[in-house]
């Protein structure tokens, strides 16, 4: 393995600080290989930036390596109670009786709540409110909350759970897509308009689909299954709720979406929004798994109010598997018509999503399995049929790549089959049919900057793809895939005409700058991103900026860390707020320096004449002059995406102010005896628009590649007799440092015109091509294909067997002769 390029690791330098300020300036640590294309931005070339583009240590890195960082579970309040939830042990039943008398009598138990205490129905999407905090008359999966106990300590609360008497009247469980489509099984949610367990159907047609297929020289039809999997962040969900004597409720909660918890807590707990405050401390990983209000959070709020004491509830790892909201298992039928040169004439995609017991984001997920099909390659006619069903399993929701990861796997696998059948080079073919920048798709999605071809070129040339493809010895393979992703959902979850993100920047007389923004840093580095954008705009050091994030009382709204929206939207809001401050500082400094404001430049903690850099003020002097001239120096900014939705039902899912692009090349080595796959290397090129912090972008790409590897080869979502078979981190296999291969992250910059400093996203997009690239590499190695994830050794042996006409393997082993004793 080629070790990560050696960096100059000095973090600080005082030598280059031109104003003699004793404080050190953070310094870029590394020379990153960044490929830039299509420089479209008129103002400010990257070389002119001092913070943006610098691979700096994250602003929160020191707190995280020393154990100083305080996550939700690290918060302890005086008099705090500890809560535990009783959860259903059956997959589907009527709840006849829940009796908490014996639990309440246990010394140390302070209060108990059940479903009847909190009857308000809610859901993250206003269109599908099908949850209550705890079950009222029905339990719908093993793990469905029934009651919550709070006690003086956690062990007592846990013991009390065993003293709650529950009487179930079991109902037949619906455990698969096929069962959910049947009409002879009970409905999980009563719906008089249907006779089965379908929750949502989507049928969309764009362009002349029949004519497109008629015009095709070849039509390819395939079926794929993408198994479900879960986020498994290392931090288990945790919440502390405190109901003050002033009648105000405060949550400290491991949530990616403090604003949505704020809204729904006020609704469910029937409190005015002005009396609910949600604080998102640093989050120990989310990946989409902490993107909506959870039962334990709302129960903690209720019990804090009921008892007048702070309540903490931390989920166990097993409960995290039940809380879930992870990747939907999805079955696909894909039909694609192509000309003999591979040009796509029409595509028909059908998806069936196994949604689990509640709606969650499922309506959006259903649309997402179809919406972005057209954003990667040119498709002139497109038909999409989606269907999400309820099953008696933990509810599914968004996981990194939300709903687009599964179809991208299916489409990219089929595309490789098309390339093979037509004798086309898989990379050149993809480049030829790639979407063009600044075009509109057949389903009305606006594409702006697009570095897809550059991504494919970079990943292919870094790996020698064209030389290796089809020429490696049997058992070794190379595969490619490409993809696109949102830079923020163009529409908010609940319809409103307000901005999606707001920011406030405040300058202190000591030269410190604070940025207030409702973002929740789940580890992706949004705090650093905000600090870097503000520091760049004001010409200060990134460590001069304090980030106050994720507090619904103190910070302007940001909708949350989902749909890869934060850099684009909160970044633009912070940029606007900082520009407002900058204008006042520049006006005051220009007057002091006796020059026109246009000649003022800000960098390295000074404001200077761009033509005579020695004519300068320190940032502190300039900020104080501005405060003297204009009063308190506070700037506000907000970001609302342009109106992008077309005028058809369902057009709200898919539009985004920009799309990121990615390509992955995977190299695999398969043991032909055992079927075991070793991924030798993953190379991912990602069009991030501009890397605000290349070290952080590389981290996102590497983490995405790793997570894709797990989904491709090992992560699965199996049930037996209604129960999750492996709700723990030992049996639920994720790649360790041993299974994770070297990952080569390549940053492509396309300088998006609407992104902050040209930035798009990197948190989710780079995951999408990884799974099909591995699948395509496996197909290259075997000359046979596995049509479902995860690609296990067993499936590989079966595929090899099928390719060989069923004669090679999986024969019954010959009986072993045992010598008589």
């Amino acid at each position: 393995m080629a070790e990560r390029s050696e960096r100059d690791l000095r973090t600080v330098s005082t030598a280059t600080n031109p104003d003699g300020d004793a404080r050190p300036l953070s310094k870029s640590m590394a020379t990153h290989s960044i490929l830039r294309s299509a420089p479209a931005r008129p103002a400010g070339k990257p070389e002119g930036f001092s913070v943006v583009g610098a691979a700096l240590p994250r602003v929160d890195a020191y707190a995280k390596v020393t154990g100083e960082e305080r996550f939700a579970d690290d918060i302890f309040l005086p008099q705090m109670l500890f809560g535990k939830m009783l959860r259903s042990v059956v997959p589907h039943a009527r709840l006849k009786r829940v009796d908490c008398t014996r639990a309440l009598a246990l010394p140390g138990v302070v209060a108990v709540a059940t479903g009847a205490d909190l009857p308000v129905r809610y859901g993250i999407l206003p269109s599908s409110p099908d949850e209550t905090v705890m079950a009222i008359d029905r339990v719908r999966y093993v793990g469905d909350p029934i009651a919550t106990v709070v006690a003086d300590d956690e062990l007592t609360a846990e013991e009390a759970l065993s003293l709650i008497d529950v009487e179930y009247e079991p109902l037949p469980a619906v455990m698969s897509i096929e069962e959910a489509l049947r009409e002879d099984l009970p409905q999980i949610h009563d719906n008089a308009r249907r006779t089965n367990n379908v929750q949502k159907e989507v049928h969309l047609v764009f362009g002349e689909v029949d004519a497109g297929f008629a015009e095709a020289d070849r039509i390819f039809e395939d079926e794929f299954f993408f198994d479900g999997n879960t986020h498994a962040p290392i931090e288990q969900h945790a919440v502390v709720a405190h109901f003050g004597a002033d009648g105000k409720l405060t949550f400290w909660c491991s949530t990616q979406t403090p604003h949505y918890l704020h809204r729904i807590a006020a609704q469910v707990l029937e409190l005015p929004g002005s009396h609910v405050r949600v604080i998102a401390p640093p989050i120990g990983g989310g990946f989409g798994g902490k993107t909506e209000p959870f039962a334990h959070e709302l129960a903690a709020g209720y019990l804090a109010r009921k008892t007048g004491r702070p309540v903490k509830i931390c989920l166990t790892r097993e409960e995290v598997f039940y809380a879930h909201r992870g990747r939907h298992p999805v079955k696909f039928k894909v039909k694609t018509g192509v000309k003999s040169d591979g040009t796509i004439t029409a595509c028909h995609l059908q998806s069936w999503l196994d949604g689990g017991a509640y709606a969650s984001y499922g309506v959006a997920t259903t649309y997402y399995t179809g919406a972005l099909t057209t954003v990667t390659y040119k498709i002139p006619a497109y038909k999409f049929d989606g269907c999400r069903v309820y099953t008696n399993k933990p509810p599914c929701g968004p996981k990194r790549g939300h709903g687009t990861t599964q179809p991208r796997y299916a489409l990219e696998c089929q595309l490789d089959k098309i390339a093979d059948a037509l004798g086309l080079d898989a990379v050149e073919y993809r480049k030829r049919i790639a979407v063009d920048p600044y075009t509109t798709t057949v389903n009305g999605l606006r594409i702006t900057s697009c570095g897809l071809r550059e991504c494919l070129d970079a990943a292919a040339s870094a790996t020698g793809y064209t030389v290796k493809k089809g020429k490696l010895p049997r058992g070794r393979g190379i595969g490619v895939a490409a993809s696109s992703y949102l830079c923020g959902a163009g529409l908010p979850i609940y319809w409103n005409p307000m901005p999606q993100s707001g920011a406030i920047v405040k300058v202190d007389r000591g030269g410190g700058v604070t940025v207030f923004c409702g973002t929740s840093d789940v580890g992706q580095g949004s705090n650093h991103m905000l600090a870097a954008i503000v520091a760049e705009t004001l010409g200060v050091d990134v460590m001069d900026v304090r980030v106050c994030a994720g507090d619904t009382d103190l910070t302007p709204v940001d909708l949350g860390s989902y749909s890869s929206r934060v850099t684009f939207m909160a970044g633009n809001a912070a940029r606007e707020a900082a520009v407002n401050v900058r204008q006042r500082i520049v006006a005051a400094a220009a007057q002091k320096l006796g020059i026109l404001p246009e000649r003022c430049a800000l960098a390295a903690r000074r404001v200077y004449d761009i033509d005579h850099p020695d004519d300068q003020l320190t940032f502190i002097e300039a900020a104080q002059a501005a405060e003297a001239a204009f009063g308190t120096i506070v700037g506000v900014g907000s970001y609302a995406p342009p109106k992008l939705a077309a005028d058809y039902k369902g057009s709200g899912v898919g539009p985004s102010p920009a799309y990121s692009y990615s390509a992955c090349v995977a190299e695999v080595d398969i043991d032909l005896e055992t079927g075991e796959v070793t991924v030798e290397k993953l190379t991912v090129a990602h069009d991030v628009g501009r890397a605000i912090n290349p070290a952080a972008v590389e981290g996102q790409i590497e983490g995405s590649a790793y997570m894709g590897l797990g989904e491709a080869l090992m992560e699965e979502w199996p049930f037996r007799a209604g129960e999750h078979k492996i709700p723990n981190l030992l049996d639920y296999k994720t790649p360790t440092s041993l299974e994770t291969p070297p990952i080569h992250a390549i940053i492509i910059e396309t300088d998006d015109k609407e992104g902050p400093f040209g930035a798009k996203e990197s948190g989710q997009g780079p995951l999408n091509p990884v799974i099909p690239a591995i699948a395509n590499a496996v197909a290259d190695a075997l000359n046979a294909r596995v049509y479902s994830t995860p690609i296990t050794a067993e499936k590989i042996l079966k595929a090899m067997d099928a390719a060989a006409g069923g004669v090679l393997r999986l024969r019954k082993p010959a009986p072993v002769a045992v010598a008589p004793v």
Binding site: R4, G67, I234, M707, N728, T736
Partner: protein
């Protein structure tokens, strides 16, 4: 309840514990050392890794009473008394070898212990040594690079084989 004495980060700490309490819960709840994290409570993820007499253990599976009169090092005790970060810590900062930071304390403690046993590891040995510490964010790439760089720095500083942490009474074991 049982009285025990833990030598935590070089300081003796007397504490009364339930004999069934894990070392993790005593560190976090009784001694308020909350840098050590629980990621699963069953010994699978490594987020709760601390050193007991210089050896890395999953503190969620370790009875506190078994740590009686032993020397413990948590993430809070890796930096020297003057606040200088342990080379593994500074290397994690410099290599951006962390994202959410929840696995980071356990990962760093594991890595520091590993380097005390193997001051000049190969990449493969490093990957094998860290396989008990799950990270869902980084893909391990930057972590392995950080640990390799920390190994070099420890050797360059003449600290190869040094047992990490502030030791009052086990220095001779090194």
């Amino acid at each position: 309840m049982q009285p025990i004495c833990l030598y935590v980060n070089g300081e003796p700490r007397d504490v009364n514990v339930d004999p069934t309490s894990s070392l993790l819960s005593v560190l976090r709840d009784d001694l308020k050392l909350r840098g050590t994290k629980e990621g699963c409570g069953t010994g699978y993820c490594g987020a709760c890794t601390v050193l007991v007499d210089g050896k890395a253990v999953n503190s969620c599976l370790y009875f506190a009473v078994d740590a009686d009169r032993r020397a413990l090092t948590t993430v809070e005790g890796l930096a020297s008394r003057d606040g200088a970060l342990h080379p593994v810590q500074s290397s994690f900062v410099e290599h951006s070898a962390l994202q959410c930071g929840f696995c980071t304390p356990g990962m760093i403690v594991s890595a520091a212990a590993f380097l005390s046993e193997n001051p000049d590891p190969t990449q493969e040995q490093t990957r094998a040594a860290l396989a008990g510490n799950l990270c869902r964010c980084t893909g391990y790439q930057s972590i392995v690079a950080a640990v390799m760089a920390a190994a070099r720095r420890l050797r360059d500083e003449g600290r190869a084989g040094e047992i990490p942490g502030r030791r009052a009474h086990i220095a001779s074991r090194a």
